[in-house]
Symmetry: C2
Subunit: 327 residues, 2 copies
């Protein structure tokens, strides 16, 4: 295992310290318990948005803390759920008196621990569970579908709505609407290595790929041999299309798993865009890059979200985070 680390036990502490230092204009870091908040304190009367999950998916979620998106993020160890005490401490740190909204990817450990945190929390809270991965029902770490790249889209859109002052119930309904309007499918060209494990999570032959892979290397629909980008994109696109039946305006996201060159991601985007045109879909918004990664895995996912006018306006609203910045 070759990784830029000092000790498998201190990766998160050191990486998070670096993140906090590099983005001290945007965020503050707590190491004990571990969470990231906006640099400026809670906004009175604003619902606090908190997400979290295992590390190794950077920039998700710490990279999305800031104006117009999350109030806090709780990173667990690599591919390991954060603990309820992290979530509780984060919730208390960013409480604006209007309730707490947890955005949780559907993995058993995350769901359980965020539930415990919500129970322990004084004050109103609600949870949005993302489960956009159309590849498989239930998986290694999840009952039901896995939450993957569309979580980024949920966090952006709900974050903008929270910023304008929407209340807890409205935000929860909006987030669930965005999640339901989204479908994602991923492929892996290589495995990834969890530092504490020291060896690849799964094995792929020199010409083998995993179709429908999860973001922790969970099995997808099947193994296959390497194919052209057009063929792979067609299969991913068809799976999403069958699931969410997109029409009209869509957001097209091509997400890198961490180890795929950006040039290839744009090539995948172009292939997907051609399929959108063929199917009469209008790509109203786009996102291409490494947003919801799986350490150094090579591969990508495609996400389609059916957009309405409100979602588009919220997508365009200003955002000031380490990994997303516009408007």
């Amino acid at each position: 295992m070759k990784k830029l680390i000092n000790d498998t036990g201190t990766i998160l502490a050191e990486g998070l310290a670096g993140f906090g230092r590099a983005h001290a204009d945007l965020v503050s870091i707590s190491q004990e318990p571990r969470f990231v908040t906006r640099r400026v304190g809670p906004t009175k009367g604003k619902v606090a948005l908190i997400s979290g999950g295992g590390s190794g998916h950077e920039p998700m979620h710490a990279g999305f803390v800031g104006l117009g998106m999350l109030d806090a993020a709780c990173p667990g160890e690599v591919f390991t759920s954060p603990t309820p005490d992290q979530m509780l401490a984060a919730a208390e740190a960013v409480d604006g008196g209007a309730g707490t909204l947890f955005i949780v990817k559907n993995y058993a450990g995350d769901v359980m621990n965020f539930e415990m945190a919500a129970e322990m929390l004084d004050g109103e809270s609600a949870t949005i569970l993302t489960n956009d991965d159309v590849a498989v029902e239930s998986s290694t770490h999840s009952q039901g579908r896995r939450g993957v790249a569309a979580t980024v889209i949920v966090e952006k859109i709900v974050g903008a709505a929270a910023e304008r002052g929407d209340d807890l119930a409205t935000l929860k309904a909006l987030g669930e609407r965005v999640n339901a309007a989204s479908g994602t499918m991923g492929i892996a060209l290589s495995s990834c290595t969890v530092p504490a494990a020291g060896r690849a999570t799964f094995d792929l032959g020199p010409d083998e790929i995993e179709i429908g892979v999860g973001i922790h290397g969970e099995p997808g629909r099947r193994r296959d041999t390497m194919k052209s980008a057009d063929a792979l994109v067609a299969e991913m696109f068809a799976a999403i299309q069958k699931d969410i039946a997109p029409r009209g305006d869509v957001l097209l996201m091509v997400n890198g798993m961490g180890g795929t060159p950006l040039l290839e991601l744009y090539l995948v985007y172009e292939a997907a865009a051609k399929l959108c045109a063929k199917e009469g879909l209008t790509i109203a918004r786009s996102l291409v890059g490494n947003y919801c990664t799986s350490l150094e895995m090579q591969g990508c996912s495609i996400t389609l979200t059916k957009l309405d006018a409100e979602m588009m306006a919220l997508w365009d609203a200003p955002v000031r985070t380490a990994a997303m910045h516009w408007g």
Copy 2:
């Protein structure tokens, strides 16, 4: 070779089409000859900034086309210099009547072709040659030092100065000042595969790394066995320090080679920040991420730039590009 491509002959055409489509709000694409310009036409009276080089280093340079940075970028095939006709066509497309400034990384093919373009061009032009890589003197593709990640810093700072109306000679002097104030050193934990070659550019054993690697996989100072992040950062830092003798305010950039998780890049940043503190340097500005990549290579580079007040103000000035956006 597993890559998300259709044909090694069409990667650039398809990837660039996707880039243009995904960022149609920012850029326009020409395929024949191949170049990227800002979506809005040339600004009358503004010096036009043009860069370019082999592809495979994305987001460099096309990702830096937009307000406050480049006017145009000319991508060659992967790890292959663009041709003079691309540069000439780009220069004509973005000419604002105040001259053309070429920002060129010091590789023989790039230097030769940009020189030819400058000779063919009607109107005044100047060239900034970047050569920030402190690892080795001369290399596989370069006489003298290689131009690497500090090129991004040069493009940002000179781009901001061009936006405020600085003239050609002033911009050239500024860019050369930033380049001279910068030192970079990189390491590779893995090789990368040029699609047209179909096999790894170089071979590294399971525990072997290349210290001082170039961004095309050129040899560095030596092969070594894998070490802790702290030890590797200390060696890179010392090499830069010996070269540029930093003092006072610095910009600290940790650049991913394409296949290294962001968490590790922040860990490297933290290690470098501790060395800065020890040496009495103030990290006035930071940049962490994949900016000057080598396809899917695992590894990173560290860049230090000695900053003065003018450079800091120009660094902070608004920038609106696909890969850099703030202010």
